[in-house]
């Protein structure tokens, strides 16, 4: 039964549908699908609108912010931002290589999610699939910020 349930969760996750399983440690076990992104630029609007601070347009800035220790989030298709608390067992979520390696990528992630005081959090237990960068918006917005590509300045 456990195998069947996990298979069903995987399929739903690959379809981009959030799936809830069980309560664990006060959280909810789920499979979520979304882009690993820079929470500061997305929430603050400091670099522009939400659609321009994800994907290929914002990839270099997303690397900068992750390396700078700004919280990395997982943005799902319904607009929920999950602050990443742990990544596949790695306790390092402050500027870590683990996070840099997946910035801007669309992941299917198995983990435990929590909600507190309006914010959502996720412990990513396993990356089920990595689809790479799927939001190809650089031809719409250029690099965001514009100085992200020095050759263009």
């Amino acid at each position: 039964m456990h195998v069947v349930r996990r298979f069903a969760l995987l399929i739903l996750g690959l379809l981009g549908m959030p799936t809830a399983d069980a309560i664990a440690d006060g959280g909810t076990r789920m499979t979520v699908t979304g882009e690993m992104m820079d929470t500061w630029c997305y929430l603050s609007g400091v670099m522009g609108g939400a659609e321009a601070v994800v994907g290929s347009s914002h990839h270099t800035c997303a690397l900068w912010c992750a390396a700078g220790g700004i919280p990395v989030g997982l943005l799902t298709d319904d607009g929920t931002v999950y602050f990443v608390l742990q990544m596949e067992g790695s306790p390092d979520v402050v500027g870590s290589d683990t996070l840099l390696d997946v910035q801007s990528d669309r992941l299917v992630a198995d983990g435990i999610v929590y909600e507190r005081d309006g914010n959502n959090f996720i412990i990513v237990e396993k990356v089920v699939a990595n689809e790479g960068i799927t939001v190809l918006n650089h031809t719409d917005y250029g690099p965001v910020p514009p100085f992200a590509i020095p050759e263009l300045n």
């Binding site: 959280g27 929430l43 990839h59 220790g69 700004i70 919280p71 507190r116 309006g118 914010n119 690099p143």
Partner: protein, 184 residues
């Protein structure tokens, strides 16, 4: 006599005012949902606050940090005052487990909020607020050769550069970069 009682009452109100009501000195950045916010809270790591897994050192810089306010609410600290893509962990970690008074900006238009801490000092202290600028000092200490050159850290950080070298600025490969740069 009535005037005297009114003055005393007004004075008591001032004394009893919570810290959060004190005037913020935070600098506006013109951000989405920006709210200047000065308050006291206990520095904690987020994983601890949410799951109860609480190392004494708040994760030694490897966990994201937050502030537990007196009403029990948790504030996510995501940014310091510097303008070069810098987080707030180096400024908050020295206060792990301690109460501090912070001043800064809460941002975000929806339910999800992030706090930019601009100033910090021990709670209940008359000490001058410290600006949250430790991030670049920490980076410079770990990259002494690079720190001496003129470019900002993000232009020369080896981990960032290695990824751009391999995957391009857009993350889609060097050929996509080349074509985009030529045509944009």
């Amino acid at each position: 006599m009535r005037k005297l009682l009114s003055m005393i009452a007004a004075g008591l109100v001032c004394v009893a005012s919570p810290v959060s009501a004190q005037e913020s000195q935070a600098e506006s950045w013109g951000l989405l949902g920006e709210q200047a916010l000065r308050f006291e809270g206990k520095v904690t790591d987020l994983l601890c606050a949410i799951t109860g897994n609480c190392p004494a050192d708040c994760g030694a810089g490897k966990r994201q940090l937050g502030l537990l306010r007196d009403d029990g609410s948790l504030v996510v600290v995501g940014k310091n005052v510097q303008a070069a893509f810098n987080g707030g962990v180096p400024d908050m970690l020295p206060f792990c487990g301690q109460r501090v008074e912070v001043d800064g900006l809460m941002v975000g238009e929806g339910a999800t909020k992030l706090y930019q801490v601009q100033l910090v000092r021990p709670a209940g202290s008359d000490a001058v607020f410290e600006k949250t600028t430790r991030w670049t000092d920490v980076w410079a200490a770990s990259h002494p050769d690079l720190a001496a050159t003129g470019d900002p850290w993000f232009r020369k950080d080896p981990r960032v550069l290695s990824r751009i070298k391999a995957e391009g600025y857009l993350g889609l490969g060097l050929e996509v970069d080349r074509k985009f740069i030529a045509e944009w």
